[in-house]
Amino acid sequence: MKRFAALYTALDRTTRTTAKVEALAAYLAEAPEPDRLWTVALLSGRRPRRAVTATRLREWAAERAGLPLWLFEDCYPVVGDLAETIALVLPPPAQDSDLSLSARMTDILAMAAMDEPARKAAILDAWDSLGGTERFLYTKLLTGGFRVGVSQTLMTRALARATGQDEAELAHRLMGDWTPATTSWQTLIEAPDPAAALSRPYPFYLAYQIEGPPEALGVPADWIAEYKWDGIRGQLIARGGVHFLWSRGEDLITDRFPELAVARDFLPAGTVLDGEILAWKDGRPLPFAALQTRIGRKTVSKRLLAETPAAFVAYDLLEDGGTDIRARPLAERRARVEEIIAGVPPGGPLRLSPVLPFDDWQDLARTRGAARAAEAEGVMLKRADAPYLAGRKKGDWWKWKLDPLTVDAVMIYAQAGHGRRATLYTDFTFAVRDGEALVPVTKAYSGLTDAEFREITAWVRKNTLQRFGPVRQVAPELVFEIAFEGIRASPRHKSGLALRFPRMARWRRDKPAAEANTLDDLKALLEAPDRDAGSEGQRGA
């Protein structure tokens, strides 16, 4: 665990990608193979489920530290992280142990089958044999909340450097639903594995939000436009007589969408389609909220299938007749997608995402403006001659989403942030005017710079009216422009409204509270076409 803690410290200490890749590559070249495998698993988001509830951890840590629970609870908001709070309050370790990362992880996995007294004893024993960063990391791993600022792309780069293998090949190998319990370093990284290769998806290519007017992209003829759908990004694979459906979160979700089994019958062998999974009924997509009813279900009832059928809307082809064609230009790949979908019975769950024709950018702007009516979030622009890249790369794929809705609202409550922002007030509640009163409408916690949060934090300290635990009620004076993606009626909220994806667009220093928007202004937006959908996650391009 010491070696892993040293790696974590090195990664945590720097923001420079070269330094991160260097530290990680050195670790992946030198650490014992089971530890490397676990590190790759953890850095690719394959964290074991939480082994014990946060409530128990708090109780046991407070008990072990000889502190009343309330005092532990008072420490937590100051530190901003449960595992760190635990690591800090516990007495120094009585024993010195250097069990490896993989040994610790195996112990954690074994806890699922233990009864509570045994689990408690195991955890207390581990706490008592780990110091500083190791204890913090161990507790993070227990809670399932381990994170470090290394993207999958950086990790793959480091792995390529450590093993001398090709980066894209490694990215391919790392996909899929493996865990350190189901594979080994040799199998996953070193050995060829034809069976696993059958289900293996390609890394998704991700688009950036366009930054300025689309005119900057040059000639319209160089670009292909499609709707930006509001569903789940997916890859549909048909190989060797079986099919697989992957979501962008790299989850194998084949069983959740049984209607897509038609892929076996109608897609040529060795086909990999990139597209969007949408709830689709009566010839049009349903709002994302409808698709959400399908996501969480491992088994799908006939009734649900009838009520909320799903479709795979294809827009790219990555593998054709068993050949990786990602290097071919998009125009060519699209032409093949169209041929393949043309061979599928119409009106079924395999559909084509149409190309949106446009002569000039004005023309496309009009199409985008009407995207909401097509249940889309905007349009996508893809360079016609571009290959299919892996990960988020700027230049060839752009999303041009509808402008967010905005409202000027007054800050009324402030709460300290977590982790990096534990000593700053970053979580705010905003209200709009309703006659003389202020009605809370939303919370938001992102969108400002650290410098702005610092300034607001100083202001909050001086303008607190009342405290409720960690929450401060502040003088209703600061006005912020809140951007959001949708609005819907919600009887659960005092205002009768709920905003979707709210964030602070800017601090309106120029506006007094008396000029903030009113509840009636917001209600007027409800009349507008429905833009409501569900949660983010694996969605979109």
């Binding site: 008072d74 420490c75 992280d81 309050v89 990096r420 001086k462 405290r467 003088a475």
Partner: protein, 353 residues
């Protein structure tokens, strides 16, 4: 919103000390002793001020008469200019009105004091800022038996536990050596009064050059003049060419770290020495490359031990995590309360002291 400030700055919920305070009580000017007609570290101008130490939240300008320790006085004079300042030695007893006062080492910075006030056999001690562990520079903290102890609790939560100073100094040396090996300067942020000199004493025998920001050098000069031995430093002036001191350690106030002043050192590695560096969130937010956990205040164990050593039955908390710490003490059987003062602990921003 200025008008609200007075109420809003007060510590959060929890019992305030409301009983008649026989020896000391809080007025709008500060902590007041009616028997001696003086104030301790007052925050508004008064006739007679007893000053625990030179940090700006304790030693403020505008009082008619000052009393401070002889070793603390030079820095106070340096910071406040021409003031009427009388000095007193540690443990020397002086009568002021009906009160007997004496100053005792607080271990916070050189010359820092706890102030003992005795009125008609009733003894109160005001801690000022304090640190029980020795730092190699300040006169070591001495517990002073009393009936009522008025204590700071800047780091009054059990997540704050300092490691031995030698370990932290070794960490800083390693960081400095690593940077020097790569030809980089090591820019270390620390308070100009106390922390900077403590680092100097702890690191001065490393052999490498130590450069100082003007604010720190000025304080060093005052201390050297009063006979405190500090390792040699090279003051940074507009003419200083960093290339002539490759791999140097540069001591600067925390606020200078991201400034144009710091730019002259090019690709320097930056560090901060503060108790707040114990928290990962603060470490990351402060955007220094490294955080070293080093404070001139008592940690959780230090506070508890110091309070126990006074033998006091009543403990009143001034600044820091007063709410939880008061409750903790009450549960330990103390008569514990909170007095609202304008004093600050070590701040996360490092602009107050």
């Amino acid at each position: 919103m200025r008008r609200r400030r007075a109420e809003c700055n007060r510590p959060g919920p929890g019992p305030r000390y409301s009983r008649a305070m026989s020896v000391l009580s809080v007025t709008e000017h500060g902590l007041y002793c009616p028997a001696g007609d003086f104030y301790i570290d007052p925050w508004a101008p008064v006739d007679r001020a007893l000053i625990t130490h030179g940090h700006s939240d304790h030693a403020r300008p505008g009082h008619r008469r000052y009393l401070a320790t002889d070793t603390g006085a030079p820095v106070i004079r340096h910071r406040l200019g021409a003031i009427a300042l009388e000095t007193i030695r540690y443990a020397e007893t002086r009568r002021i009105g009906a009160a007997m006062v004496s100053f005792h080492p607080a271990g916070h910075v050189p010359g820092s004091a706890q102030i003992r006030v005795e009125v008609a056999g009733e003894v109160w001690v005001v801690s000022g800022d304090y640190k029980p562990g020795p730092d190699g520079l300040s006169e070591p903290f001495e517990p002073v038996p009393c009936h009522t102890f008025i204590s700071e609790c800047t780091f009054g939560l059990p997540v704050f536990r300092w490691r031995p100073q030698a370990q932290v100094m070794a960490e800083i040396r390693d960081w400095w050596a690593e940077n020097a090996a790569q030809g980089q300067a090591s820019l270390l942020g620390a308070y100009a009064l106390g922390k900077a000199q403590r680092l100097l004493v702890g690191l001065g025998d490393s052999g490498g050059p130590i450069l100082t920001h003007g604010a720190i050098e000025a304080t060093c000069r005052v201390m050297r003049a009063q006979g405190i031995a500090l390792p040699d430093t090279v003051p940074v002036t507009p003419e200083t060419d960093p290339r002539t001191h490759p791999g140097a350690l540069v001591l600067a106030p925390p606020s200078a770290l991201g400034s144009t002043w710091a730019r002259r050192f090019g690709q320097a590695s930056t560090g901060l020495a503060s108790g707040w560096m114990a928290l990962r969130g603060v470490r990351r937010r402060r955007a220094a490359d490294r955080g070293f956990v080093l404070s001139d205040h008592a940690d959780w164990d230090g506070l508890n031990a110091a309070i126990r050593a006074t033998g006091a039955e009543r403990v009143l908390m001034t600044h820091g995590y007063t709410g939880p710490f008061r409750r903790w003490l009450a549960e330990q059987g103390y008569d514990a309360g909170i007095v609202a003062t304008a004093w600050e602990g070590e701040t996360t921003e490092g602009d107050a002291e």
